[in-house]
Amino acid sequence: MADLSTKYLGLTLRNPIIAGSSGMTNSLKEIVELEKSGVGAVVLKSIFEEQILLEADYRIRQAQTDEMTYADFSETLDYIDLHIKEKELSGYLNLIHSAKNNVDIPIIASINAVTTHEWTSFARTIEEAGADALELNIFVMPFSLEKECADNEKAYYEILKKVKSQVKIPVSVKISPFFSNLGKVIKNLEKFGADGVVLFNRFSNPDIDIENLKVTHADILSHSSDVANTLRWIAIMAKRVKMSLGASTGVHDGATVIKQLLAGADIVQVVSALYEYGPSYVLEMTKFLNDWMERKGFNYVDQFRGKLSQQTSENPDVYERMQFMKYFGDIK
């Protein structure tokens, strides 16, 4: 049996497969099941600022239709978003507490932050509740026609700096690929204190139903083909940063886990595959990893991690090539 253990954000994980932040990591029951299925760690479901605002709107509408909830002019309703947030956060802290009391794998909390405000101070409470690490899921929608690109990037750094000033536990940042110079942004995140970076967060995407002429949601779950961009950037950044690298999006089988480790990832985050095949699918993935390592003669993960990163592979320019060259154009 190969040693699958790995280091991530300074934590020792029994294997590099982490259950990513999702609806499956939102209750103690599911977290316990995930531990039984063999995941190396769990990232709890993110708390979303946007979700709190939607809930606040729902409460306000209830009050307006006299559903016996609040008076229109009460201070409680006036600050309802604050109270909803408080309630959500309190439930979140309870989840961290109970998870820490019931499982042995590391528990990574997750905040979906878009501003540097009160959310960053919540990081301290998360630490006090016992979380082993914190993942900041940051996405500032880049559609402002007034802001400069650098202003957007600055928002990421400010959130990170503020959170780092509040906590001692390791902090990773989960980002999107939408930056004008992604490599520099990742380097800067390390400079401003990130203990790790996770590439990339997955968004709800729009689609259009041409029969009913409606805007709809595209597929929520990822596909195995979505892995390429993450693979590229893990390979490019491996050995160029000292912080941990996590690969997310499109990790659907054991082979992809191995690819990401070869590219230089410390861990992979799995979500869609767990939704599709259930938590026990992790057992298959770890078995595949173990069998492959034994077949290839690797005793532990660090023996092959980053072996095919851009810096160490024999064919590094593949990772940089974006445009199809002439001879690819001949492929029918």
Binding site: R61, S74, T76, L82
Partner: protein
């Protein structure tokens, strides 16, 4: 009074009303200026606890009553949660039958002197007045007139005690003596029930006593209303916590056939920002209870209260206004309201905001605290404020407060009062495991009857709504009384 609209319509046809309408042309009525409340001078009143509003005189009330057009469709009544026949009581004033006006108010409102002082009329009856809706003129001063009629009756020495039906011997327990409980008790007493009000504190009145300061609602006013209820046969037991002192089961064994729970929302909410636990940071509930109910600021009382020189009050509702104006009266050199929206979005009564401004209260609108700091002894000495701007509207139509990135500054303070809302009192719910609750800790009730998931328990006010106004709570109490009456008639053999 099954059909209020029909009752109001019939009343309008009475001969005396028809005669009054004929006595003055509508055009003359609409040309009269709205009456102005007599007030204490702002710079004198902000150093005493006497009532700010001094009331209006008989002459002023009569003039104001002439403005009322006695509309065919009195839209003002739609805005009243307790269904007062507003034109009737105003026309009684015009007819100089002031005691009759008070009696008309008491047909549906147990506490007219209270409501005349604390109701947000500009958002209810006065908002729906014909003058506001169609003439674009200041509405009839319904609140001032209500107060006038109730005060006149009280000062006349001829208080009308509402008639009560022949006692039916059925015992009803009211849990909590705030506005919801008192309204329910009043209606049930009129129907002949044997009503006992259980109050956890040592004084009757709930939020009317501990929450609203004397300068806005003198305790004496509440006491007179309570005394009237005693005369109607309502019994009061203080220092009695239902769910602790005695359980519901104990009370059932003592013969209580039904319960109305109006135990309010006594749990203050905080913002949970760093430093909020420092000394010198109160909830508005605690601060106002210490001052109003426990007389902490009076010589000869043992209850302590911290006196601030630089006081910040967080919030924009009536409780925030009450707290900040109280702090000024207790000697603060600087009393500031810190509210994250603009003044237009404040939920406080317009009059309270206006009075606070007159009393040299500073308003830091579009600001929100993000952190508190303390001296070496743990007493708050500074707060960090975040400047806000207004973003897109939320579901209420008000624009949402959004932080202005990077715009923070510090303000010196030595007392902070947080008035950002309250949560329901958990004692009753936690003592009844079968009681259906919302995930917000409020009791789930049938909207029409106010009956809970336990058939003999009815509820209303803050314990159901999470946060209500006095008049909404009273409306709940009245509906619950009707619900209890129906329940008893159907389920219990009346002795």
């Amino acid at each position: 009074m099954e059909n209020i609209a029909e009752y109001i319509k019939e009343g309008r046809q009475e001969e005396w009303r028809v005669e009054l309408r004929k006595a003055m042309k509508a055009k003359e009525r609409t040309s009269i200026e709205r009456v102005h409340m007599i007030e204490q001078d702002p710079h004198i009143r902000n150093k005493n606890i006497l009532e700010v509003n001094q009331g209006i005189t008989e002459e002023m009330a009569i003039v104001e009553s002439h403005r009322c057009l006695d509309c065919v469709e009195p839209t003002c009544t739609i805005g009243c949660p307790v269904g007062i026949d507003i034109p009737k009581f105003i026309k009684k004033i015009e007819a100089r039958d002031f005691l009759g006006a008070a009696a008309a108010l008491k047909e549906t409102n147990t506490l007219p002197a209270v409501c005349g002082r604390v109701c947000p009329q500009e958002k209810q009856c006065e908002l729906n007045c014909f003058y506001t809706q169609k003439l674009d003129k200041p509405p009839i001063a319904i609140g001032h007139l209500e107060r006038f009629a109730a005060d006149y009756e009280r000062n006349s020495g001829k208080m009308n005690i509402p008639k009560v039906a022949t006692p039916n011997g059925v015992k009803i327990a009211i849990v909590g003596s705030g506005p919801a409980g008192l309204a329910a008790a009043g209606d049930l007493a009129k129907l002949g029930y044997d009503v006992t009000v259980f109050e956890a504190l040592h004084e009757i009145g709930g939020v009317l006593k501990y929450g609203i300061p004397e300068f806005r609602l003198p305790n004496e006013i509440v006491d007179v209303e309570i005394e009237n209820m005693r005369k109607m046969g309502v019994k009061f037991r203080t220092d009695f916590i239902v769910g602790k002192t005695a359980s519901f089961e104990d009370l059932r064994e003592q013969g209580f056939e039904a319960f109305f729970v109006g135990s309010g929302a006594g749990l203050p909410n905080f913002m949970n920002i760093p430093g909020e636990n420092y000394n010198g940071i109160y909830s508005s509930n605690e601060y106002l209870t210490r001052v109003n109910l426990m007389k902490a600021a009076n010589n000869g009382y043992d209850t302590p209260v911290l006196i601030g020189k630089k006081v910040a009050v967080i919030g924009g509702g009536n409780t925030a206004m009450d707290s900040v104006r109280t702090s000024k009266r207790l000697g603060a050199e600087r009393s500031i309201i810190i509210y994250r929206r603009s003044i237009e979005e404040m939920p406080a009564r317009v009059e309270e905001v206006h009075h606070a401004q007159q009393e040299d209260i500073e308003f830091l609108n579009l600001h929100n605290p993000v952190e508190y700091f303390s001296d070496e002894r743990g007493r708050v000495n500074k707060m960090r404020l975040q400047k806000m701007t207004l973003g897109d509207p939320d579901a209420s139509g008000r624009r949402r407060p959004v932080p202005l990135e990077g715009a923070e500054f510090d303000v010196d303070v030595d007392l902070v009062i947080v008035a950002v809302g309250v949560s329901p009192n958990p004692i009753v719910p936690s003592s009844l495991k079968d009681l259906k609750m919302t995930d917000w800790g409020t009791i789930v009730v049938n909207k029409e009857t106010m009956q809970s998931s336990i058939s003999d328990i009815f509820a209303g006010g803050d314990i159901v709504r999470g946060g209500a106004t006095v008049i909404l709570a009273m409306g709940d109490g009245r509906r619950a009384a009707a619900g209890i009456h129906k329940y008893v008639a159907e389920k219990v053999t009346v002795k």
